[in-house]
Amino acid sequence: MSRIGVFICQCGTNIADTVDTEKVAEEMKKIPGVVHTQDYKFMCSSPGQKMLKEAVKKHRLDGMIVSACSPHMHEKTFRRACESAGINPYMCEIANIREQCSWVHHDKTKETGTVKSLDLTRMTIERLKKNQPLKPNKIPVNKRALIIGGGIAGIQAALDIADGGREVLLVEKTPSIGGNMAKLSETFPTMDCSQCILTPKMVEAELHENITLMTYSEVEKIEGFIGNFRVTIRKKARYVNEELCTGCGDCWDKCPFKQDSEFEHGLKKRKVIYTPFPQSVPNIPVIDAPNCAMLQKGKCGVCAKVCGPKAVDFEQKDIVVEEKVGAIVVATGYDLMPNEHFGEYGYGRIKDVINGLQFERLASSSGPTGGKILRPSDGKEPQSIVFIQCAGSRDEKKGVSYCSKICCMYTAKHTMLYRHKVHDGQSYVFYMDIRSGGKRYEEFVRGAIEKDGAMYLRGRVSRVYEKDGKVIVQGADTLSDSQVEIEADMVVLATALVSRPGADTLAQKLGIGYDKHKFYNEYHPKLKPVETVTAGIFLAGTCLGPMDVPESVAQGSAAASKVLVLTSSDEMIKDPTTAIVNDFTCNACWDCVVACPYSAIEKTDIKDREGNVIRRLAHVNDGVCTGCGTCVAACRSKAIDLKGYTDEQVYAAINAF
């Protein structure tokens, strides 16, 4: 016979107003197995907890019910109190008589609330009688971390984790780390030069003893679970030996072939053997294989001839490596919406219609024009520029429904940069709303208008076309109710931020969620902003959705702190409420394997002494299982139970109703 104690909380008046807690305590005493009951004003307070512990000793309790608020609030508190009083914490159960009872009943006679509380508490008592003591799972933790994506968010996460004393593997798809931030000229709202603040971090990441850089590499496969991931990475052939190369640049100086530079967004050419930009980290070139005459036709090889240390290696092949890590930070960044979306804005056809990142390159001192604002068609300095905000954003019909968030600020910055470089130039900004929430952001936009003379027009642009070497912008100013036509020299579109191509495929490999725009889903939008549904995998930066540099950096650090918490001890304690398969009744239909959203169920073989497979069984990996219960529902032979929520427990509760 069990010895159960039942404690009913009044929660001040939160519960006591509509529930007669004294009566609940009295009634519960009558139930067999209950040896002690008590109601009290605040069960979660220190005196309340002390009372619990004393009761455990005095009445030699082996189980405890607390009828109080939702288990989300204080289950941990009461279970901890139990543990310190010497009973297994999983022998403590909460009956929720606040959120699901007192708060939804307004009957001041307390009748309905009391009746329901009696039911809820009685059900929980019967349930508790079927409880088994559970022990937390302990999982070994590999202390290395993998970061996918070497933009500012990934770099920040890598540096923080490495400074925390953990090893970091930073994998970047392109030949250099730096991401989109490396392309920016200056950054709002303080106007510091992007490269000046970013490159020290890039170099630090390269030199940090705890960081291993793997550029020009892609994650192909992820297996395992929190603390124990196995990651397969393809290191693409650079055709340059990284050990030998000194980064002297003789090869790209002499390479006779040119292609559009991805980094310069087509505003400049690069060689076929190249580094994306002068401050690339590592400063080791790659050969653009599909466009290399030597690799394609066996003719040329100039780069190899001029290379002093003989680092060029046309025989190099992709290498596939497997790495073991305990945690993963995904920081894969964003792209701009592709050009063909903007037919009415002449994008792609009209040379002097460019996007925001192209303008950044024009304004950057290391850019194609050396920081001079010159228009692409004829290299002349534009005397007027029209900036069109929300190009593709907030356009549920032809673009994306969301706001790209950073465009209001960077457009204001563009007008300032333009005015600072072309003193008599006039800028025009078509906007729908100015979204400048943020420290010093509103003042920054007002500065663009008041000090730097940007003409802001409230309206959307209908079309852009060419006429006599000018770019004609036809739009509206809804504040004056006019149609507005501007003969501009250049147009800059603040194109929508979109997720990277292939973001969905990577998410599927990682087992993390994404929304309809293929931005990754955080576990909880407010309280778990960098966690994912898959334990051990964290997010940072614009792979979650549009955000600016300060936010990306904050998220990089946040994800790093989560990784450091996870890797702070050799073992991880995990809640034991996981699924368990009954080996005798499992018929290996694998419905659970398909149903499990976390890939926590494996197919295992039972072998005889000779090593012949005699049976196959589903097996739950406690490290991955979150106890969601999907498999329990899916199992046809009822062979799966959820520890702490077994069928036996649930039926006992239902029968007590």
Partner: protein, 135 residues
């Protein structure tokens, strides 16, 4: 102009009717002005398309019915094809026209039309014009 607003203005029967006839939900419009910016004839309208929708959002049906906008709209659908919210100002002006014509008042009289036009114009212009201007 001063507008006094109350719930009965916003949900007024006439505004609801024009919404129903046009099949357009005025709440969808966030007043970006793209329709007015691209409309080839908004220069000749008393009230440009985006403001027509604004007045309907504010329940000012009578202002919309008094304006010449509905008779100037040519139905080219440029407003709709570039609207980021998928709202058709052309449908709304057509609904206004319909509501006016269904009362039996014609906007044009056949006898007023120039004979040269009637003699040389493509039939489609005449049929279309009658459909838009005559009850």
């Amino acid at each position: 102009m001063k507008i006094k607003l109350s719930k009965s203005d916003i949900d007024g029967a006439l505004v609801t009717q024009i919404s129903k006839v046009s099949g357009e939900d005025f709440k969808q419009c966030y007043q970006c002005g793209n329709c007015s910016g691209g409309c080839p004839v908004s220069y000749a309208m008393d009230i440009p398309p985006s403001q027509i929708i604004r007045f309907l959002q504010l329940g000012r049906f009578e202002l919309v019915m008094e304006a010449n906008s509905m008779w100037v709209c040519v139905g080219c659908l440029q407003c709709y094809s570039r609207c980021p919210k998928g709202v058709s100002a052309a449908n709304i002006l057509e609904a206004a026209r319909q509501l006016s014509l269904r009362k039996g008042t014609d906007h044009e009289r056949i006898e007023d039309l120039p004979v040269s036009f009637l003699k040389t114009a493509p039939q489609q212009a005449i049929v279309c014009g009658f459909r838009k201007f005559v009850s």
